[in-house]
Symmetry: C2
Subunit: 430 residues, 2 copies
């Protein structure tokens, strides 16, 4: 019966702005960072979770996560693991903290970090990877762990149980398939806006050689540059899939004209064409740029926003983020709604640890929720995996099924020490 | 040529949870709080601004405001006052901080506090109340200070100039009218959920005696209680206006059935029937509960959400909040959009300082933007005004026009000292 005896939240930042890795039209100089939660116990067991930011303000998420996580000290791990829905509701019910959102911004990011750590702890306690912890739950158990508040006009808990029950008997077939073939992925690594044409061409060429069938490029700073860069990428890709990502730089009319200018390069999707809050704007853009698809979600702050993106038929691809949404509890209802509306979930990843964490959610989507790989590709970015103890394994354009217990969010202790902000040696020397 | 020489942000909290003032179905025990920004100069001039929270997490807004405001140290006050649009854009352009929203949650609340202080400083420097500072600006100057990003599908800056120019020649007529008669208001003071029936009846009766024509009650915890409480209020109010406020407790179907159960009491509006993020949900509720109107906005986090509430015909009353939106720069575009759609703006107030601040915005709406008082009532709550140096003056159901220079956000120094959290004497003794 282990008990949580320590709650630590650490500000970890990587100076990625120095190399323009991760540069896009909205975010020219991010320092990829994590508010990193460590739940220690009196046993040989620790839970790890994080939320991802791009530098300044990571301290705010750390401070918020400390306040939210403080309640976990002294808790029995097995009781916690048996009622992760209860923990979620307890965190969300703090009305004073709720005022600061509700369910958005720093407080929601921090809640995600804490809940990710709690799910990691539960999975480690069970000796299972996170996806397997969920795949071993009954439909009723999954629904009890989830938040359906504000969703009942689109999806009730009873309907969710039905959906999950339909796929329950065949879960192991899909697990076996993923164990053999892995989960399909795409790469964003070649396409950062700060890279010059030569580096772009070289990286796309390498991506093709490495077996990638889908490659994503950043766009939106200068339309002539975009035409030239897409032309290079299309030459190298041939008939493989090209996606483009504007990171919210456009108003609705600009998005429509700009994307239509780039339509000749046949992008599979335009990602984040405008404000992530603009559900109706995305719907208008989608109508106007078809057959180019519309993708968004990495900045959509909660399940209510995804509900509306689906209701309004605003998106062709649903891009959940594992650290902006409040963990498995909030994300499974989004997977269910997307499945109901027939929209494929293609999660956002990259940053620090997002690939490690979100791969579990794509597995859950396939095994438990949608039962389909059609139109699904999981983002991959080749950054910072070396800092994790159980890094993603990617090859031939696919993620291999994670096998180690937990949610894959544990960072290497030496990395945490080196990049701890502002006192770690990697920052002290700057 | 005064220069900003100090930037101070103070955590001020009032223990309002002890008396159930401010209690509602979502927020049973708020401690009304402010992240209070003080911009000192080398002259006899200081700028004051704040954002409002209800307790825990106020420290997060303070920490964020400190980071955002740090850039103001050393700035020339006249240069700052001459380009408040530039300051706004500079703050919003910090892409690392933007990641934590964007434009929502703790970071946006903190930006509001800092920008409110900058506007206060500019108004004091000009020796004018904030509303007068704006009323003396040309349409072009107002538009230059505002943020139209993501709005151009509904309102362009050029169209905004045209709208403002139409009312420009007659601004002084409306100022004179407000100086004589004041701005129409409503009171929420009688209706907190924690008050018993006797106190409710007594307070509504007193409100009627004091000349109030509009009274708002909290609802949503228990429908039978609501029926009983509305019955009491309706008895005391006669044909005066009754509004009800659910503070986001319902899913969409529940909102519709509950409000229709209360429709017999002929509420003018149902406020916050569901998640503030649910634009389409509000639209569905509005259709289903007419002729009861739908009001929302105190938790709508930015101009993009208001744009959609208007586009979707989801609201009958637009309830801006002076401290959740990023100050005058973001709010005037919302006033303009509401005017274009013919939706009256009835701001949220109460809390700490919200009445003091938002009264200026209603004056700007009437004098510069909509030119109409039809359907407009500004919220009034009789809480905590004694802590301000220029408190609102309310009588006969109307706000009197503010006259002192600034944005009315300065708190009394002795109040700040007494309620400073956690070290002020009012907290140290708890």
């Amino acid at each position: 019966m282990p008990t949580i005896t320590s709650v630590d939240v650490i500000d970890v930042r990587f100076p990625t702005s120095a190399t323009l890795d991760g540069s896009d039209a909205m975010n020219p100089d991010g320092d990829y960072s994590a508010a990193y939660v460590v739940l220690g116990t009196d046993d040989d067991l620790t839970g790890y979770g994080l939320t991802f930011t791009i530098g300044r303000g990571n301290d705010l998420c750390v401070a918020a996560a400390r306040q939210i996580a403080a309640r976990l000290a002294g808790r029995d791990v097995d009781a916690l693991a048996a009622d992760l829905g209860g923990l979620y509701r307890e965190i969300m019910a703090d009305s004073q903290m709720r005022w600061l959102g509700p369910e958005k911004g720093v407080v929601h990011l921090a809640a995600a970090a804490v809940l990710n750590a709690a799910w990691d702890l539960a999975a480690r306690r069970a000796g299972k990877p996170l996806w397997r912890l969920v795949a071993d739950m009954t439909p009723e158990e999954i629904v009890a762990a989830c938040d359906f508040r504000y969703l009942s006009d689109v999806l009730t808990p009873a309907e969710a149980v039905e959906m999950l029950a339909r796929l329950h008997p065949t879960r192991e077939e899909r697990v076996a398939e993923l164990a053999e073939h892995g989960y399909p992925a795409y790469t964003t690594s070649p396409g950062w806006l700060g890279y010059d044409d030569g580096k772009l061409r070289q990286l796309v060429r390498e991506a093709v050689a490495d077996g990638w069938t889908h490659v994503k490029l950043k766009v939106g700073a200068d339309v002539d540059d975009d035409v030239r860069r897409l032309s290079i990428a299309r030459e190298e890709l041939g008939h493989r899939n090209l996606m483009i990502d504007a990171n919210q730089v456009w108003d609705v009319p600009d998005a429509i004209s700009w994307v239509n200018r780039l339509a000749a390069f046949e992008p599979l999707w335009i990602e984040e064409p405008t404000s992530p809050d603009d559900v109706l704007g995305h719907a208008a853009i989608r109508k106007a740029v078809a057959p180019v698809g519309v993708a968004t979600g990495e900045h959509c702050h909660n399940r209510v926003m995804f509900k509306q993106l689906l209701q309004a038929e605003a998106i062709d691809f649903c891009q959940i983020d594992s650290c902006r949404l409040a963990s498995v509890n909030e994300i499974i209802p989004i997977l269910l709604m997307a499945a109901k509306f027939g929209v494929p979930v293609c999660p956002h990843a990259g940053g620090v640890g997002l690939c490690e964490i979100v791969q579990h959610l794509s597995v859950i989507d396939y095994v438990c929720v949608s039962g389909s790989l059609e139109g699904r590709v999981l983002e991959y970015v080749d950054h910072l995996h070396e800092h994790f103890t159980d890094p993603v394994r990617v090859g031939g354009g696919r993620y291999r099924l994670p096998e180690a217990p937990g949610y894959s969010a544990q960072m290497r202790p030496d990395s945490v020490e080196a990049y701890r902000y502002p006192d770690g040696p990697q920052w002290a020397k700057q």
